[in-house]
């Protein structure tokens, strides 16, 4: 195993990821901490963490496209929904095994996103955001009425085959999926491709003026983003066991994803994870005091305060804290 670790380290360093030993240590600690959670918290908390994990996956997916390149997508629930509906239809209507339906769902999400949203990448700024929003709204309206025999109409599809039984197993599956997605995205963003995507968000004309095809770069970011959204959507559907149009193609899902990224820290991998956990737990903690929809006002106000205090999110607050600590020591 040391040989394998050494090979991985050399390969990753050689590929320009500039990996250092402390990266491996921090990741190992993070993974170990997440995997030990079932020993430390109760089942109720574990269930809340499962939702946070899935939201984190969707947030990482959104961040790869929008947090890096600056192309704000309002259509991500559309991608999550395609993944969820594809696996639901395949397993419930056509009897596909889950092992086959989830990879197909990922491919369908990439393909569906490619057809519908990729042409929108040629337009910029608020126009891109509006087109993606329109696509999501269109899906919300279409899914219940087009082939309701397949989609289940407004009632959706229920009794989806479960991937796991029990809170602990559900947690392990969700957290492993989240960690795998986070690690993959982190490694990818540490390559020169990650630098190029970040550069597009700063000045797309300059990237093109540096000899790079920005259309190809954005398309790749979009496909990776769509694949992760589809993957997360498919697993989430099987965790829930029931899917409805409102649960996926809804503006509230979109807001949760975007707010998780913004308050956690766009352009980072840990940021969306922290943001997702912060939001999900905040809403849970508020529930006993404000059982109705009014708790969303409180959570919105808290998110706004954090955003006003540090627009780069909680990650930037943590980083500045670490910098201060180091400064105080020296």
């Amino acid at each position: 195993m040391p040989g394998l670790a050494q090979t991985l380290f050399i390969t990753a360093s050689g590929a320009g990821m500039n990996l250092r030993p402390h990266h491996f240590i921090l990741w190992a600690l993070f993974i170990a901490g997440m995997l030990l959670m079932p020993e430390l918290v109760g089942r109720g908390t574990l269930r809340t963490m499962v939702f946070a994990c899935y939201l984190a996956i969707f947030a990482i997916s959104w961040d790869i496209l929008s947090g890096r390149t600056g192309y704000i997508s309002f259509g991500h629930p559309f991608l999550v929904g395609i993944g969820a509906y594809t696996t639901a239809i395949l397993t419930r209507r056509y009897g596909f095994p889950v092992e086959a339906s989830i990879p197909i769902a990922v491919l369908v999400t990439m393909f569906g996103g490619l057809i519908v949203l990729l042409p929108a990448l040629r337009i910029k700024g608020s126009y891109f955001a509006l087109v993606t929003l329109a696509v999501m709204e269109l899906m919300y309206q279409l899914v219940p009425v087009v082939r309701p025999d397949l989609t289940g109409g407004t009632r959706g599809i229920s009794r989806l085959p479960a991937l796991t039984r029990g809170a602990e197993n559900g947690y392990y599956l969700a957290v492993c999926l989240m960690l795998a997605v986070a690690l993959f995205a982190w490694l990818l963003m540490r390559t020169r491709l990650g630098t190029a995507l970040w550069a597009i968000g700063q000045n797309e004309e300059s990237v093109r003026g540096s000899g790079l095809s920005t259309t190809r770069l954005k398309s790749f970011a979009f496909l990776v983003s769509a694949a992760i959204a589809g993957l997360g959507g498919a697993f989430y559907a099987h965790y829930l066991g029931t899917i409805t149009p409102r649960a996926f193609f809804d503006i509230n899902v979109l807001f949760q994803i975007i707010v998780a990224v913004l308050i956690g820290g766009a352009g980072t991998i840990l940021g969306p994870i922290i943001g997702a956990f912060f939001m999900v737990f905040l809403l849970e903690w508020l529930r006993p005091f404000l059982p109705g929809q009014e708790r969303f006002f409180v959570y919105g106000a808290i998110a706004l305060l954090i955003y006003m205090y540090q627009p780069k999110g909680i990650m930037a607050i943590i980083e500045s804290g670490i910098t201060r600590l180091r400064g105080a020591r020296t």
């Binding site: 190029a196 540096s210 095809s213």
Partner: protein, 242 residues
């Protein structure tokens, strides 16, 4: 073979003709100054050469090949690149990372699996005058002179041998102008070809072999810097002399 041959270039924006039947050559290793009053269409010419704007008619030949059908990245891959009137750095990225973007091959596979050539990044940064201590500074912290140097560095990193410099001295102090001028002279000595725009004629004069003057996209004069400035039409349009 000329590095660049522009023939009968026309660019219209609706009823406005920004480039009007413009033709000129740029020899390999030559440094050519493009002068004209504000709004003469100098930057529009640059944008058409780089493919950022599509010309209405006319041809652009680079190293013997017509490049009008090529995308901007494809033109850069063939060895021509430009700087901008207002520097366009990647502000959140460090000096080194800005240069890295210029060095990247236009291939996703190479971007993901290829290695970062830090030695080459450092070499380019040092060649334009950055100190080692500057390399990890974010571009947002750089002064205008350093931003111009960074723009140069990123342009050089693309591997281009023909550089289009737009308002290369704009916003610079006297010291920074001397620094950039020295850099251009150094690159001329290394065989680079230049087409440059500047309103700072005294600073530009020693850096060019020849000049062309345009007004409203039309060529007024083509010749030595002194001859072009002595041209009556140029003096009237550019220097405001009757």
């Amino acid at each position: 073979m000329n590095a660049l041959e522009i023939r009968n270039l026309v660019k219209r924006f609706g009823g406005l003709t920004a480039t009007n039947d413009l033709s000129f050559d740029l020899a390999q290793g030559e440094s050519l100054g493009l002068i004209g009053p504000n709004g003469a269409g100098k930057t529009t010419v640059f944008s058409q050469i780089m493919g950022e704007l599509k010309q209405t008619s006319g041809t652009i030949t680079f190293m013997g090949r017509e490049i009008s059908g090529l995308s901007t990245p494809d033109r850069i891959a063939r060895g021509i690149s430009r700087t901008y009137q207002v520097p366009r750095p990647f502000t959140d990225l460090s000096v080194r990372e800005n240069i890295r973007v210029g060095l990247m091959p236009d291939s996703l596979r190479a971007m993901i699996f290829g290695t970062v050539d830090r030695a080459r990044e450092d070499e380019i940064a040092h060649s334009v005058g950055f100190a080692t201590t500057d390399l990890d500074r974010p571009a947002s912290e750089l002064a205008m002179g350093d931003l111009r140097k960074l723009e140069f560095a990123r342009t050089l990193a693309t591997g281009a041998k023909v550089l289009l410099l737009d308002e290369v001295f704009a916003g610079l102090t006297t010291g920074e102008i001397a620094m950039i001028a020295e850099l251009i002279q150094d690159l001329r000595g290394r065989g680079f070809t230049f087409l440059m725009v500047s309103h700072d004629l005294p600073a530009m004069e020693p850096l060019i072999d020849r000049a062309i003057a345009i007004e409203r996209g039309t060529l007024l004069a083509d010749g030595s810097f002194k001859d072009v400035l002595a041209n009556a039409e140029v003096r009237a349009s550019y220097l405001g002399e009757a």
